[in-house]
């Protein structure tokens, strides 16, 4: 199967066209036209990207296998958990958020429930104190602030 490269090449071709078109729409800079404007370099790039994506569509490499659907769902859940961590770091604090995400990740990587919780809690507490007290980079305490 050589679908991956074709699809990806197609997407990149769309990107190249959209990017190049956007570049032609730049307002004329104050002081009038110069021989090289803000759009010159981007237009060159969109041509290069365009050529290489057309090559990719025409002569695709064999596919690397995608993970089965179940794994893809799992990977998306992992990505979501990291986004949730990023969101939670300020409102609920670094330590609880980090403990949760590290435990979750190591559990998903195959550690047992107890061991992953131990990993999560110790690593987040150690890193918090290392950063706050030794390296003096303040991390938010969040809920633990009182």
């Amino acid at each position: 199967m050589r679908i991956n490269d074709r699809v990806f090449g197609m997407l990149m071709l769309i990107l190249a066209v959209a990017y190049g078109w956007e570049a032609t729409q730049f307002p004329i800079p104050f002081g009038g036209h110069e021989s090289v404007g803000p759009e010159t370099f981007p237009i060159m790039l969109s041509i290069i990207l365009g050529i290489s994506s057309i090559y990719m569509i025409v002569r695709p490499d064999p596919d690397e296998k995608w993970a089965p659907t179940a794994m893809l769902i799992e990977l998306s859940v992992v990505v979501l958990s990291m986004l949730a961590f990023a969101w939670a770091i300020e409102p609920i604090g670094f330590m609880p958020a980090a403990a949760l995400v590290v435990s979750f990740l190591s559990w998903r990587m195959g550690a047992s429930m107890t061991k992953s919780i131990i990993t999560g809690v110790t690593s987040s507490v150690v890193i918090f104190f290392l950063f706050n007290n030794v390296l003096e980079l303040a991390l938010p305490l969040g809920l633990l602030e009182f």
């Binding site: 991956n4 490269d5 990806f8 990149m12 990017y19 956007e22 730049f26 800079p29 104050f30 021989s35 090289v36 404007g37 803000p38 010159t40 370099f41 981007p42 790039l45 969109s46 290069i48 990207l49 050529i51 290489s52 994506s53 090559y55 990719m56 490499d61 690397e64 995608w66 993970a67 794994m71 799992e74 990977l75 992992v78 990505v79 990291m82 986004l83 961590f85 990023a86 969101w87 770091i89 300020e90 670094f94 980090a98 995400v101 590290v102 990740l105 190591s106 990587m109 195959g110 550690a111 061991k115 992953s116 990993t119 690593s123 987040s124 890193i127 950063f131 390296l135 980079l137 991390l139």
Partner: protein, 506 residues
């Protein structure tokens, strides 16, 4: 001699207690990073940049720290090659060929010690080469005008795939994507907003450190999950070291040859450390044909290891003197320099002479530290290597996120990091190399600036890009670098594969 006195001044910087401390810390961290499978030097340095940045270290200290990490990672890579038969990074692949069989024969400790000595010789000789060659190249590069620089940047991208590159168009595509990301934000010379969609956060462009950590570290985590590689691999037990002076003398010629070859391969664009260790190994096999190469010959460990470390130091020559890195890790080091507001290139040797020479001297110090660390303390690193990734990778991810977060204290940066991680995962699935993307983001602004300067000076005449002998030469090399791998690449790759397979059969 001028260079000598500058180097001595460098040692004055590198031998202050503070610098020695950073060199030691960097060496330890680097060895760990190199030894852990799946982390790799580029990755490790990338994770540490935001930390060094937010700790407010001085440029000299952070550079000493990170170059020691870089050197240490090259030492560390061999540990997993020898004990697990898994190279910590690509250039360490050739070390597997004889290192792992040696370990199987119950000579793991000897293999580790010999490779440490060979690494030391490799780095040491190559650092001397750097001392000699870098100032010459820097002086020469002063003659470069904007159009030569534009050609040089093109050359950097064209040769990045290396002689072993698989699909040149994918390298080109990756470079274009990186350069495109670099154009996001307010255009420096005209003030026009480009591709910002009127979002305030995009006005300053996309921070390449976030991109590097996302593309490398986060995508690696996803790959680990997918492969169910959380349990780690079984490693060969380590024995008690029995190494005589005679054994060391026996591998010396191999190490010196490997070091010189590696250095040359490191300096040349497009060759890189993988080719350096490959050439060193094959040449060694040819020169001393009586040995048992592939079955655990000590010289087969020493030669590629010296080559790999030699290439690592050699790769610093174009990075420091021209501002054009030749490998992933040197690209990351370049990111470090740019974020410290130091622009590498020929002027670096004049404007920041004490910094450059301090760093070079620190490389000598760091190497000595690494040699001392790696022979008696190798056991500790081996212990750490046995921590399964299922505990380690989440913690590494956490440290990476803390680093990103502490630069600007914004959750948005973390969203971007995760986004780049997902993109990196997809890129790797379709075989788009990540290094040209990073390099594009790093070099984009400079490349565009030199194009502008060249064209403004010539009043819009595009032929200015090809009007000096020097720039034509650079364009020729660039074209060769792009075309040659299509012809030679399959042959070299097949050879590398054959030597790898012949070992498996044995």
């Amino acid at each position: 001699m001028d260079t000598m006195s500058l180097l001595m001044q460098g040692f004055a910087v590198a031998l202050t207690p503070e610098s020695i401390m950073f060199a030691v810390v960097g060496a330890i961290l680097g060895t760990l990073i190199g030894a852990l499978p799946g982390l790799g030097p580029a990755n490790g340095v990338a994770i540490l940049i935001p930390l060094a940045f937010s700790l407010g270290l001085s440029p000299t200290s952070s550079l000493i720290l990170l170059t020691s990490v870089y050197a240490g990672a090259m030492y560390g890579g061999r540990i997993s090659s020898i004990l697990l038969n898994i190279p910590g990074d690509e250039p360490a692949m050739m070390t597997c060929l004889d290192g792992y069989p040696m370990a199987l024969k119950g000579k793991a400790a000897e293999a580790l010690a010999i490779s440490a000595i060979a690494s030391f010789i490799g780095s040491f000789i190559a650092t001397i080469g750097l001392v000699i060659l870098a100032p010459i190249l820097a002086k020469f590069a002063l003659r470069f005008g904007p159009s030569e620089y534009f050609a040089l940047f093109a050359l950097a991208f064209a040769t990045l795939g290396g002689i072993t590159g698989k699909n040149q168009f994918k390298t080109l595509m990756a470079a274009a994507i990186g350069l495109m990301i670099a154009t996001v934000g307010i255009d420096i010379s005209t003030g026009v907003q480009r591709f910002t969609f009127n979002t305030l956060e995009l006005f300053e462009g996309v921070d390449f450190i976030i991109a590097i950590v996302g593309l490398f570290a986060i995508s690696e985590l996803l790959f680990f999950l997918e492969r169910h590689a959380g349990d780690g691999l079984k490693q060969v037990a380590i024995n008690k070291l029995q190494l005589s002076a005679k054994d060391i003398i026996k591998v010396l010629p191999a190490s010196v040859r490997g070091a010189v070859l590696g250095f040359v391969a490191g300096v040349l664009p497009g060759a890189g450390a993988s080719l350096g260790s490959f050439i060193s190994y094959t040449l060694e096999k040819r020169v001393s044909d009586k040995g048992e190469f592939g079955k655990g010959d000590p010289r087969g460990v020493a030669a590629p290891e010296a080559g790999n470390n030699g290439a690592a130091s050699g790769a610093l020559v174009p990075m420091l003197t021209l501002g054009v890195p030749g490998s992933g890790t040197t690209a990351v080091l370049l990111a470090m320099l740019i974020s410290l507001n130091i622009s590498p290139g020929p002027m670096l040797f004049q404007q920041n002479a004490d910094l450059v020479w301090g760093v070079i001297a620190a490389m000598f110090v760091g190497n000595l530290v690494l040699l001392l660390l790696n022979i008696p303390m190798v056991g500790i690193f081996v212990k750490l290597l046995s921590i399964p990734p299922k505990y380690l990778m989440p913690i590494v991810t956490l440290i990476a996120s803390v680093g990103i977060y502490s630069v600007s204290h914004s959750a948005l940066d973390l969203y971007f990091m995760v986004g780049f991680g997902v993109a990196g995962y997809i890129f790797r699935k379709v075989d788009i190399p990540l290094v040209p993307i990073i390099l594009g983001m790093l070099l984009g602004p400079e490349m565009e600036k030199s194009l502008r300067h060249a064209l403004v000076l010539s009043d819009g005449d595009w032929s200015v890009l090809f009007n000096s002998g020097l720039s034509i030469g650079l364009w020729m090399v660039a074209i060769l670098g792009l075309v040659l791998p299509i012809v030679v690449g399959p042959i070299v790759r097949a050879k590398m594969k054959r030597s790898k397979e012949s070992v498996k059969d044995a």
